[in-house]
Symmetry: C2
Amino acid sequence: MDFVKMGEQAKEAARMLNRLGSEEKNRGLAAAAEALLAHKMQILEANQKDVAHAREAGMKESLVDRLQLNEKRIAAMADGLLQVAALEDPVGEVISMKKRPNGLCIGKKRVPLGVVGIIYESRPNVTADAFGLCFKTGNAVILKGGSDAICSNKAIVQVIQDALRGEEIPAECIQLVTDTDRSAALKMMRMDRYIDVLIPRGGAGLIRAVVENASIPVIETGTGNCHIYVDETADYEMALNIISNAKTQRTGVCNACESLVVHSAIADDFLKKLAAHLAEKKVEMRGDARAMAADASIVAASEDDWGTEYLDLILSVKVVDSIGEAIDHINRYNTGHSEAIITKDYANAQRFLDEIDAAAVYVNASTRFTDGNEFGFGAEIGISTQKLHARGPMGLEALTSTKYIIYGNGQVREM
Amino acid sequence: MDFVKMGEQAKEAARMLNRLGSEEKNRGLAAAAEALLAHKMQILEANQKDVAHAREAGMKESLVDRLQLNEKRIAAMADGLLQVAALEDPVGEVISMKKRPNGLCIGKKRVPLGVVGIIYESRPNVTADAFGLCFKTGNAVILKGGSDAICSNKAIVQVIQDALRGEEIPAECIQLVTDTDRSAALKMMRMDRYIDVLIPRGGAGLIRAVVENASIPVIETGTGNCHIYVDETADYEMALNIISNAKTQRTGVCNACESLVVHSAIADDFLKKLAAHLAEKKVEMRGDARAMAADASIVAASEDDWGTEYLDLILSVKVVDSIGEAIDHINRYNTGHSEAIITKDYANAQRFLDEIDAAAVYVNASTRFTDGNEFGFGAEIGISTQKLHARGPMGLEALTSTKYIIYGNGQVREM
């Protein structure tokens, strides 16, 4: 592939896209949505090739399911584009404008990032979703999906490109890296002249590879080793309900609870009740010595357990003697995602909110709420676990930058 | 050096620092300022060693001057810390708080980044300046200065660390990488487990090396190939005044004008006047064929000139036939720093502000205003030429992140 050409085309497309108003962008999204539905057979045929290859290669059926498209999933992709079209366009907003003593009016205006790169794994619906969010915010996007989904991704991108052309919008607003080898991914990660930000979406290995190798600014989305701390003043019923929800409502997600921290004053009593409660849901509990003493069903945790994101029906349990110890434990082992305290104590609630270092810190609620839709953003490109640019669920605004616009009337600098 | 230990100490210091209120941080800054003055002889002695080494090694006197400290410069460093103490503390502000339909109150709170890494070149005053800005915003800082200034930097850091200890604040809020070889810089750039953001301050080579090698998120500060476009409706007097200011008021700075773009309808007449005007200031003008035709003093520009940041009394001149052509030229060759249009035309002013891709876009003012103090931020850690996290002059807010704080009363997620 000619990465330089791809980069230049993306930059040029981004410049054109920057000139479009929200109405024109929404027309492009609607046309793409319509085209996905109109060409669903073409997409499904391509997807069947991917699925056949995957099965030949012995892919697990649970992963084949993620790869597989059907009419309903294509309809959901189209619907996703229409939902993004309905969201408010953040681009163009002047966030602030101040007059300086010398008369200069200095405003800060929201603008597209330019060219966004996204590297992701098997699910082909990400192709349409990522395009929709980037396009709405005036960004050209360069996508690199997994090799498993290459035929599906090519078909989806082709259909969207044709739809854009039909609206006289540059087709290069969406481009796909079709080389599927590792060296292509590495080349993409070094395109800092052309790509303004790189967002990896996938497992820890993918994200690590991007962080290690990219010369482009990266937004790390990520793993969640999320904790719930049950304070000595916690309402038991609320705690049981929240822990059960955060651990079992969905286990394979980054905002699920993986570790419990319990105050020693209530550990015996509370953990017995919790063990009975979670046994019904077949959750394995792995605890330290004091947790094990509380209930016979709790097995021994190793040091590795404290740092593990299980994504499974397993929960580690640590008993502490104070909120300070709880905070230290959590700040040591968490991944900066979502952490919660269950308490009736005002000071402890405030201290937990202040001192826990994570994207989302909760009092008396489930960690499962860390999500763009739940936060009211309408859509989400990922959940950032880094501190630069965006932290937590990233909606449309996370795909924008700002520029200063300055209105003068002849001002020059004196010193 | 033990980089892991340094990283762990920095993280621990950052956690302690996060608990301090503005008053305590301001006391730390005042103590550091006082200590710099009280121990000026110790710092000057160390600095004399650096200066002696530099002269032995044949350093140019203009560079020796940047390296050299004196009582006045130390007083300015101390004063800088007091000025930062007087600024409003951005940390802790809750930027927004909204109630969701399920009753969750979701707030966005400004917090420190954590640990900031700064890699810079010779001037030892950066050591105190960078510490001041990072400390005020609750960040621990790991500094790596140039090998030329190592004795001075060690002395300054020692004095500040002692002052912090005196206030019972962890001395590791400021740490210096004392290994001066390139492999130490590379190791620092890979400390993504410990450092949250890396800011290079220096020449293009340093910045490029950091972008290429860092696994930590980088804020690129930078070079400025700044343009002024003189539209056909420009007021000549205003244009001459602004160009003269932006080109000659200081030449070695990133917001100085390096390139002029002129509409063909006024090129002959205007460039003659400008050439006469700039001849007095000994500015060499390098133009395209039409610019050369306007005045005999204008010499031929090569293709390289369009992309060059001269930092000298040289100005490239391009003649264009439309504002569209001007915008295309500027967007092709600029470095995303500061660009200006001189015009009386409303539509052209708005179009220039909309379509130019740069951190700061001016109408009828000098590019020299792109500066933290001129923008009213009170201080500046650098001028970002990238689009992620911060763009343009970076004040205290650029050294902060946010976290979501969520107040619930037992909410769990239903789907």
